[in-house]
């Protein structure tokens, strides 16, 4: 850590830990409901649990992205945040809006639109809050001593994420138009601009963790995000097959979305190659594991499992079944949850000044949560494929099929328990690090790393390990 104002990132990361834990609780509520034990129905009916589960997910990921930006951008721009106090205010506002939204869901204060359940008045507050964040980051870069590709890609991703929140607020009476705009948010986020954020954070982590030449890392960053937009923008069409939109989307959406895995493949190869070739052995191996894991699992969850149901002929039968939930879990986990956990694993020792990243709990967290998530995906895959065959192909009644697949939800619950154990260890490790009292660079007498391959252009030499 080089700058005082980077400290605010810790508050965002702590918020992530809290919201993530709550998200998991609501996941279990739904898992038990699917397994035939909807015991909390009177207090937390399924639709409340679902809105809470998914919105907490989006909130903690956004909080993680913001924390990451507050941590990364000062270092990249070589200056303090432009308005350090605003960052704290913006954090507090985010927490207040988030908590209000989640409490509101329990009293039916929502818009019944998947992933965009936050009611309209709070939407405006979200926009104001995100604007404050983006402007602060933007000013820091603008007034900084240098503008790096990593920070501009990150900034562009964050800015576009904010802009793309707006189409979700276009009023319409037609359910098809409603859906049409909803995908501008949901799809263009996860398969578009969030990938820029992902690329930016990954490239920062790879430069810091491996000492690889910045020019090379950033060149490939452009290629990957180029592939993302080339396939992802028109790939939105894979949500326009069957919602009352013209037939040509079957062709356009099918072709372009089938290319989307390329971007994720690029991301995975990028992480693996750089991690192997990088000249420097950074002591924080856990952060590197999460970084490379993010590249790999995002390819499996988003690229491979997304491809599995993106062809129109397949999607005709899998559309709106548990197959989608299977893909949704692993894609969000691999691409964005692991990304946030990677930057937290990297930043926490620097922010707190305590280097506990090599504790057994940290390694345990990585493996257990990933094995747990793979098992969850398998359980949902079996349930999903069975549902597709029995309900969509054979024509059995919905509820009869659900009874057939109930037992797979016990499998899901067991896998989720393993996953939760891993996340518990992660959070424990985070808590042990304590408050963000780390000293600024050099203060701790941490040995400066020798760089094997001295990159001509980069700051890698100037910046010590953390």
């Amino acid at each position: 850590m080089k700058y005082e104002s980077q400290r605010v990132a810790w508050y965002f990361f702590a918020t992530c830990m809290l919201l993530f834990s709550l998200q998991i609780v609501y996941g279990f509520i739904m898992g038990f409901a699917h397994a035939g034990h909807d015991v909390l129905h009177e207090w937390i009916p399924f639709h409340t649990a679902r809105a809470t589960h998914t919105n907490l997910l989006v909130m903690w990921l956004l909080a993680g992205f913001m924390g990451a930006a507050y941590f990364i951008v000062p270092e990249e721009a070589d200056r303090e945040l432009y308005w350090p106090k605003l960052a704290y205010v913006q954090w507090a506002a985010l927490v207040i809006v988030g908590v209000t939204a989640v409490i509101g869901f329990h009293f039916g204060w929502w818009e019944g639109r998947k992933f965009l359940e936050i009611p309209r008045p709070l939407d405006y507050l979200v926009v104001v809050d995100v604007l404050a964040f983006v402007i602060n980051i933007g000013m820091t870069i603008w007034k900084g001593r240098r503008v790096t590709t990593t920070s501009s890609v990150l900034f562009f991703g964050l800015l576009m994420a904010a802009v793309l929140y707006l189409p979700g607020m276009i009023p319409t009476d037609n359910q098809t138009m409603d859906s049409y705009w909803r995908w501008w948010v949901v799809h263009l986020w996860v398969e578009g601009v969030w990938e820029l954020i992902m690329g930016g954070i990954l490239s920062y982590l790879l430069i810091k963790l491996t000492g690889m030449d910045r020019e090379i890392v950033e060149k490939w960053l452009y290629v990957i995000v180029g592939l993302t937009f080339l396939s992802g923008i028109l790939g939105t069409g894979h949500h326009y097959y069957f919602i009352g939109t013209p037939r040509y989307w079957l062709m356009i959406g099918g072709i372009f979305s089938a290319l989307e895995p390329l971007a994720f493949l690029g991301m995975a190869m990028y992480a693996i190659t750089i991690a192997r070739r990088g000249g420097r052995q950074h002591p924080n191996r856990t952060a590197l594991a999460w970084t490379v894991g993010c590249g790999v699992i995002s390819f499996v969850g988003a690229g491979f499992l997304g491809f599995a149901h993106t062809i129109p002929q397949v999607n005709l039968y899998t559309h709106g079944t548990l197959v989608t939930a299977m893909h949704g879990h692993m894609a969000f986990w691999g691409a964005y949850a692991m990304l946030v956990l990677a930057i937290i694993a990297y930043a926490t020792p620097a922010l707190t000044g305590r280097r506990l990243h090599d504790r057994p709990a940290a390694t345990f967290a990585f493996w257990t949560s990933n094995i747990g998530m793979i098992a969850m995906t398998l359980a949902l895959a079996v349930a999903g494929v069975t549902q597709v065959v029995l309900e969509r192909r054979v024509g059995m009644e919905f509820l009869d099929v659900q009874r057939e697949i109930e037992m797979h939800f016990w499998g899901l619950i067991m896998a989720a328990a393993l996953f939760t154990l891993g996340i518990g260890a992660y959070i424990w490790n985070f808590v042990q690090h304590g408050w963000p009292k780390g000293e600024l660079e050099g203060g701790e007498g941490q040995p400066r790393q020798e760089i094997a391959k001295q990159p001509a252009s980069d700051d890698a030499a100037a910046v010590p390990a953390e």
Partner: protein, 237 residues
Amino acid sequence: MLSKSAARAFFVGGTALCSLAFIGLTVDTIGRIPAQTHEENLTPAVIRGKNLWDESNCMGCHTLLGEGAYYAPELTRVYERRGPEFIAAMLRDPAAMYPGARRMEQYDFTDEEIADLVAFLAWVNEMDLNGFPAPPTLASAAAPSASSTSPVASGAGRPRVFEQMCVACHAIDGRGGSVGPALDGVADRVEPDFFERWLRDPAAVRPGTAMPRLPLSDAQLAELVAFLSQQHTEGAE
């Protein structure tokens, strides 16, 4: 070797081109959606129904147009599948229609609100969805008693109201729900006058029964009684 500026040009150029194409297609799509979704039938009742659909977060359990949650049945074609009376009964008291099954939310809708939601689902039912939901192609394989040579594997000759309301709970020819007993050969099991008494008020015949009293017109009732009376086991016909 690819240079960084060439990589940047690839990114900026590709993004600009695709964004333009996407915006162009969006303009075209917005022009075509009214015809494909029959926007001319978007009456005030349908719009009120859509708003109720949103406020009640039905999508938090159901899918509509294949979007939503995977806890409760797909509702895109529910109007055709179950008919307006069944849907209305469902919204009034879900537990009565599916006793002992997964719990739907018990709303306190007024009759007008129920009519609005039914109007909304009727409007969605008419949309041209490029073939979704697809007919179950393996259906005849699973129900061998339904002759695969008949033009419509299931439903041939059955009253429409039976296909909509009764199959939710009863199976026949191997297809349908499992809340009540299968109705194949039911005419062999009961007295001829049972059907009319039963359908008018099940609880009066067997107190405490799980079969609800369904909203049936006299014409529908007569049609059903005639149909059920013919349900003898094969061979006896």
